[in-house]
Symmetry: C2
Subunit: 198 residues, 2 copies
Amino acid sequence: MVKEFSDQYIQISRSTLINKLEKQLSKKRFEHVLRVEEMALKLADHYQADEERASISALLHDYAKEMSETDLLAYKDHPLFDSEWLNYGSAIWHGPLAAFIGNDQFGITDEQILKAVWGHTIGEFDMTLDEKILFIADYVEEGRDFPGVEDVRAMAFKDLDKAVNYKIKNSIQHLIEKEQMIYPKTILIYNDWVKKEN
Amino acid sequence: MVKEFSDQYIQISRSTLINKLEKQLSKKRFEHVLRVEEMALKLADHYQADEERASISALLHDYAKEMSETDLLAYKDHPLFDSEWLNYGSAIWHGPLAAFIGNDQFGITDEQILKAVWGHTIGEFDMTLDEKILFIADYVEEGRDFPGVEDVRAMAFKDLDKAVNYKIKNSIQHLIEKEQMIYPKTILIYNDWVKKEN
């Protein structure tokens, strides 16, 4: 599975990106990221998506997860920066921050990769195949062990949309059970899915 | 419990209001309304709230529940009318519509009553005692039989805020289980409560 990048999507070599990841992340999260890549490649193969996009999106997705609000604020003048993120913590803004960094520091301009990284936590309206693959690979990578994970993992290879819907719904329920705040866009995305189903 | 109104809050007599309710609502809902009033009066007595306000709010709360969107649109030029309601159905707008009618047709100007009726479905930020009483009376009136209702009914007389929080949380979970759309303000109110708890 591990292969060199083609220079089509990213300006640094795969080994440089892997080295950066290893320095940037705790061992536990670094290993999670590698497992997400593995799952994303399996899904890309299954659904005939671009494997290099799947790989880069997966490797980049949690790059900013352990960064501070200060790192985010370096992008406060970016036209896509939303100050509302600051009310909801890194669980919400680490996707957009990784997309900013991917573009700014790694020279990624491919919109599918940047969008997939941006929206990997809460999803998006009208997700592309690349976005769905990362969204679900992150949810069902082989290290995940929440109740029902095996069913969702099987579902991911049978009906990717169904798996996306499952994750959107269950993530909200999980937040409510833990009595944690819900980023409002999460509900707009949930509503959009309900509208399409009915 | 049944008593005549004092003319302090409403321009029609209690029996006129009851007659109007009976004509406006199905038998099942009319009986629900009377049970909500009974529970609201018990809670008002327990928490030393104004019983007449509790009674009028309860009797009025579902007055518009079986009305059509056309009835709502009669108020489309009202400064408090929100066209977003139309995307979420009568489950969302029947409270505001009952408040418009209470003010416009029954001459109610008391802000506590109108606010309680307005927000009885999804709650509100910083709810007053009157709002909380109707919100919970509607949830735990003696005809309700969802799993755990007896616990919430007991909770209502022990810790009204806890019961309010319980209803806000469980109503969202219930909507997700039924795969129904969630009115976005519901989540802002939920988040406000989470913020206060932590």
